[in-house]
Amino acid sequence: MTWQPEIDELHQREQLARRMGGEEKVARHHAQGRLTVRERIEALLDPGTFHEVGALAGSAEYTEGRLAAFRPANFVMGTGAIAGQKVVVGGDDFTVRGGAADASVVGKQIYAEQLANSLQIPMVRLVDGTGGGGSVKLLEQHGYTYVPANPGWDYVVDNLSLVPVAAACLGSVAGLGAARLVASHLSVMVAGTAQLFVAGPPVVKFGMGEDLTKEELGGADIHQNSGAVDVIVQNEQEAFVQIRRFLSYLPPNVFHLPPVQPSEDPVDRRDEYLLAAIPRNRRQPYRIRPILAALFDAGSVFELARYGRATVTALARLDGHPVGVVAADPFVGGGGLTVEGAEAMIRLVDLCETFHLPIVTLTDQPGLVIGRGAERRGTIRYGVRAVAAVYQATVPAAEVIIRRVFGVGGAGMTNRHRFVQRYAWPSADWGSLPIEGGLEVAYRSELEASADPAALAEEIRARLDAVRSPFRTAEHFGIEEIIDPRDTRPLLCDWVHDAYRLLPDQPGRPTHGTRP
């Protein structure tokens, strides 16, 4: 007598679990342009690597002691591989009672987080629906209510300081699901089929009187700039591609260094384009992204936090070594540091500090943005918080000054009180205040006393222009090296080896917990 009958029952129950909410619900889900949770997991992971945990969890109905019906818990989880690296993946099953808590087994969500935390491997959440949030129906079912606690949140928060956490918003996500989406290092959202909000339209209409559709309340247009979502994609497949790509720059946990890949892009690539990339006319903006492409390994620039707008942040590689990148987009308000830019910068610096990625800053910073709108938003506080993040980072850093460095913002782009491998392009232009604007303030009394203020201003401007050349700064060793822009990639590819040699032998947790 063997245990074969029980093995047969096991397979039977697993079959039932795989049906999810049933054919009809699955068909309706597909009709909305969305994949089922099992299809999503399949698409995310390396083929055939999904090992499910907790498949048997759910509600069972028995007739005469025999299993008559089974509704699986609406959360599917387990381990799998992404590019060979083992990860934990958990996804909400929207076909089973819309992904709400009364049908899910909360234990599975908590276990998934505990698994990632204990095995110290990356956590991927495929969020749909309320992601395990409660429903008032539970009150009647149970006959009592309870003080809410976000399940597994001790692990959820700790995981941010331990392993890469990536999450995708794949449906109308609210409440706890929304929280689980953004308690991550990377949040991705699918435009059109997914929305993100604290509470959905019915609750909002009742509580606030605002009558909005799901898209109007929390669609891609809202989250393009909200700061809650790092990357917006056009379809679900793309979401999985982005998550896989993001994880490829990071170690599996904080106790390892970032994975170095062999690079096919020559380290001595010198793009002629760089010699003219910065316009000679100081008032003309330029496109930063072609410059990034010229400096970093081909195809390796992975932009994050698009809501940063004027501040561009990305992961990239130099000679196969992952690095963080901070740059400016002068087309957006001149590239000055805004509240959003500061937030994006802090997120990138903290990510690199947590996972031991050296940081490259391409500085073109006119300073914190000015004006009443900027003051109302407390720009100085956010800007200084970004500078504090930069000063608190211990990862090796390099700076290429490609144009302006002015003010507190320019000064704070790198830690100017420790060693930073620094280069300047001939287009570099720096000082406490720019001459344009600074002149009128500093020489106000002379200009007011003059018979011809315009002519005097021109004369003063000519005198100041004569000494603003970066070569003069170099004479005083105020800048260590001015380089041919075409030499930048070879120099950075050489530096990255120094940087990786300086990373700790025994890397560990960040000194302060990482916040989303």
Partner: protein, 71 residues
Amino acid sequence: MSTKVAAEVTGVVWRVEKSVGDVVNAGDVLLILESMKMELPLEAPIGGKIAEIRCKEGQSVSEGDVLVILA
């Protein structure tokens, strides 16, 4: 179906490049704003005909002010 094109930044209208009635393509420069001592182009988000220009050269504008209406 008209499209409002708003200032993306607070600044001064430095140069208006188009006129009412002009047909533009997505990406065409409608006007240039000066802010943070830079000349920043305001591009048409979609193609269309310029129905209204709600600003003039030298005018101070705030982020979010509607400057051009495309039909």
